[in-house]
């Protein structure tokens, strides 16, 4: 059912204060990506607005919307028109006073094929997400689309091998990471190491699981924060298929799904997992037990 070769398009974009303009820009970029051959297009995390979590302000809850809602309607329309799959980060209003940092997968016929709610919620200076988002309660997901079975994880999830492993065990062949990660002004030097670590750990998930990784970040300056872009697609060996710079860009990568079989044949990591010995993974810590 899935295709042998899948072309990914990552929309590395900047975002402004006008949320309607952001949506319009996203739709325009999806059109451009499709023209370049993209079959699965992914937008960054929370692409409808500036990254509001750098402060804790109840006012910002107004940015949230339902799923389905305005954003999914617009994206369903363009997905159907172009026959592409669209993945997009959405600030989800689930109920009065209950919010999630979510992402949807819209299939190439315009239907919502899947929804993921960010499972790991960060909270550190300038990334006060625990104030805004309840941790996801849908678990990890892999979703069959017209062009392949894909998983979504969101930003902070990047740091958790468990998240990638579970998504791959569910059958995802490409894991998408919509992201909003940046440097504070003046921190660029120490942040080189951050960017290195960020890329290394995501590639490693591809290697451990023999899957493709597609990570898409926003760019541009918002207040004193510069989002570093550097979106990339890596293969099941961790190899680079495509990598963006620090400016707006549509990143296109062709992924040969047979590479997954080849890699897993030569490095049969999934075969040798010691599933009898992993119970402790579900513990917070083991040293003190």
């Amino acid at each position: 059912m899935s295709k042998d070769t899948v072309t990914i398009g990552l929309i590395q974009m900047s975002v402004g204060t006008d949320t309607s303009a952001n949506l319009e820009k996203a739709v325009k970029r999806i059109r451009e990506a499709a023209k370049k051959g993209a079959e699965i297009v992914c937008l960054p995390e929370l692409f409808r607005s500036e990254y509001f979590c750098k402060e804790e302000e109840t006012e910002k809850f107004k940015l949230a919307e339902t799923i389905p809602g305005e954003t999914t309607e617009a994206l369903s329309k363009i997905a159907k028109e172009l026959g592409v799959v669209v993945i997009a980060g959405i600030f989800e209003k689930r109920a009065r006073g209950l919010y999630h940092n979510s992402a949807v997968i819209i299939d190439a016929d315009g239907s919502i094929a899947g929804k993921y709610r960010k499972m790991h919620i960060p909270d550190d200076p300038h990334f006060y997400e625990k104030f805004y988002f309840s941790p996801g309660d849908l678990g990890f997901k892999a979703c069959q689309t017209r062009y392949g079975k894909v998983g979504i994880l969101i930003c902070w999830d990047q740091w958790y091998p468990e998240a990638a492993r579970l998504t791959a065990l569910l059958g995802a062949q490409i894991i998408f990471y919509p992201t909003a990660i940046g440097w504070l002004s003046g921190e660029e030097t120490s942040s080189k190491d951050m960017e290195y670590a960020w890329e290394t750990i995501q590639r490693s998930h591809g290697i451990a699981n023999g899957v493709f990784i597609a990570s898409v970040n926003r760019v541009g300056m918002e207040g004193n924060m510069r989002f570093w872009g550097s979106s990339f697609v890596s293969g099941p060996f961790g190899e680079t298929l495509a990598k963006a710079g620090k400016d707006e860009e549509i990143l296109i990568a062709k992924c040969d799904m047979d590479r997954i079989d080849d890699t897993r044949h030569n490095w049969p990591f999934l075969r040798d997992r010691r599933i009898d010995a992993y119970k402790g993974i579900a513990s917070r810590f083991l040293e003190d037990e």
Copy 2:
């Protein structure tokens, strides 16, 4: 009880057909490493002999020995004399016809502080380990030594995030990877990618868990296989602290244990693990369930 700064010495060595000479060389190198300030010294996987798993030959079981046995006696003696911790890979004979690919931690007083039996056993062309070794039944381990709490994982374990995670949750602050990995002659080109993946995934375990990684490989040509060396020590941010070339070398790295707190304060990954949602990790596969 643990020290704030720990100096690691990795013995990247070649190995010949004379098993006594290999042990003598190892002891000599431990002495040299101690002279350079090393407090915890690690030898490669199965350092007593050439890498015999490239064929399946019952004759090779003669290379196995008990723990304690000849190797641990010699290493205990030098560990005690120099006041260093020694980690070493041993082909363990557990009973008649029952063998493990093991490693011991000998404390600085010469006592055996811990033993680990390789949990993930590879089997692919030229690495027929499933013929020789029963999978480990001791689980994952972290072991308090005079200079710090350390974990050992062996070679193929490198590819499993679960192994590193469990070892870190048990309190290990440095994870050692005694290793024997190489290229077949003529495969060097495609194998560049292998070496890249090998290093990337190990560094990623350091990042995910906020611990130091110390990986030590053998070097030299054995039959048609060239072991690629490239031993390294990386920090809790994935950063390189020391990296060896392709020849014999004693690699020394000073590790500041407070870096673990610093890294985990800034990137509190352990805080946010979704231990309520990881049960599936103990499954072989989930797509078909």
